[in-house]
């Protein structure tokens, strides 16, 4: 860490996204965007998440194209293991017929895992490189170059995933049960009497809204906290060496677990959406 800035500034610097927005003077970045309201783009989140998404799809696509039915190579065996793992989870939980859910679960699992994995890259490395590039290439102050490399520590990322799943929950609820059926589910449960309609609606609506909220906030909270602890450890000077390693090892578990939980809950919610009471 640089000595001329305080710890608060250091932490804040690490937890701020690189922002881009459109102002009257053309495209502006970072601090210039503080007044831009909703129309701000977190370019680091976008770049890393889309880059990792491409990495995932290219990798799996290249294996899928060359997939043999005979003895698989090591890469193919690995990819097949992941696919088979996701597939067996989907088959255990979801019993209907739906061509979307398994690829959706695979995408969520691998993509979220890759984005979480960025957490294991030393917290200063990529922001420092970005700072150097910004300083030498564009003549910026390195402290003004923001780079948050873990997209899942950005609420926009986790909410985008959760809203995507939420949209599918509503879509399949209406598709399977019809709009009336969906409304009935919202208003006649758990108390099947017309007098309880408002109470039922409040209960069920909260349940429904809680699904994407909990999905997004769980992933965000876990990764944000993990990232924050990495940052705090990084401020300890020499003491970070013995501390960083166990936290990273422990974090490997968190990374996989959060990706798995997100995938599993997606499957469970969608399978609930398919159930006709």
């Amino acid at each position: 860490m640089a000595s001329e800035i305080t710890s608060t500034e250091y932490i804040r610097h690490h937890l701020t996204n690189a922002a881009m927005c459109n102002t009257e003077n053309g495209i502006a970045f970072n601090k210039a965007c503080s007044e831009a309201g909703f129309w701000v783009w977190h370019i680091d989140t976008l770049a890393w998440s889309i880059g990792l998404g491409f990495l995932f799809l290219m990798l799996f696509r290249s294996v899928a194209k060359k997939a043999t039915t005979g003895v698989p190579g090591k890469m193919q065996a690995f990819v097949e293991m992941v696919v088979d793992f996701v597939d067996s989870n989907v088959k255990d939980t979801f019993h209907g017929k739906n061509k979307l859910i398994a690829p959706l679960a695979l995408t969520i699992f691998v993509w979220v895992f890759l984005m979480n994995l960025m957490d294991l890259v030393p917290v200063d490395l990529l922001p420092w490189i970005a700072g150097q590039i910004g300083a030498t290439g564009f003549g910026m102050d390195p402290h003004d170059v923001y780079m948050k490399v873990v997209p899942t520590t950005d609420l926009n990322m986790t909410f985008a995933l959760a809203f995507g799943v939420f949209f599918l929950i509503i879509f399949y609820s209406i598709k399977v049960k019809g709009f009336g059926g969906f409304m009935k589910e919202l208003t006649f449960q758990p108390f099947n009497h017309w007098a309880f309609i408002p109470v039922n609606f409040i209960l069920e609506f909260v349940t429904l809204i809680a699904k994407p909220m909990s999905l997004a906030l769980r992933l965000f909270g876990n990764l944000y906290a993990g990232e924050l602890i990495f940052i705090l450890i990084a401020m300890l000077g020499l003491w970070q060496l013995p501390l960083h390693f166990p936290w990273a090892v422990f974090h490997i578990l968190v990374i996989v677990l959060q990706a798995f939980i997100f995938m599993m809950l997606t499957i469970v919610y969608l399978s609930m959406a398919h159930e006709d009471h």
Partner: protein
């Protein structure tokens, strides 16, 4: 909390990734996995079938071997019996042959003796007649005295 336009960008990216995965990644991988699973299942079934076949063949072979041994024993038994029978038959035949030969020899001997006897008798008769002729030194009607001669001959 700073929710902003990034959310929309991520939503679009998410949708595109899922669609791409659904169209181009999942089906070929799943097809390959299922194909291989089918192959392995077929192979296992085939090996099981082969094992069963082998067992049946082994059982058959054992049975055939047993039968062959049984048959061989039977054949040997028969052959022994037949050999004994042949030996017995041959002994009997040889006995018969010997008896026949002995009997025919005996008959021949008897006939020869009888013939010799007859010859001797005739010669003795002639000799007696000649002797009598000479003794009597006289012309005797041989025919008239032949009954005496006959009696003589019979006494021999």
């Amino acid at each position: 909390m700073n929710i902003n336009a990034t959310l929309i960008g991520q939503l679009i990216a998410f949708a595109v990734f899922v669609l791409f995965c659904m169209k181009y990644v999942w089906p070929p991988l799943m097809a390959a996995i299922e194909e291989r699973q089918k192959k392995i299942a077929d192979g296992l079934a085939a090996s099981e079938r082969a094992e069963k076949d082998l067992q049946i063949a082994q059982e058959k072979a054992t049975e055939q071997l047993k039968e062959a041994k049984h048959q061989a024993a039977e054949i040997i038994e028969q052959a022994k019996k037949r050999a004994a029978q042949i030996v017995e038959q041959e002994t009997e035949r040889a006995h018969e042959e010997r008896n026949k030969i002995v009997a025919s020899g005996q008959a021949e001997i008897d006939a020869e003796r009888n013939r010799a006897k007859e010859e001797l008798r005739k010669q003795v008769a002639t000799l007696a007649v000649a002797g009598a002729e000479k003794i009597l030194a006289r012309q005797i009607d041989a025919a008239a005295q032949s009954d005496i001669v006959e009696k003589l001959v019979a006494e021999l």
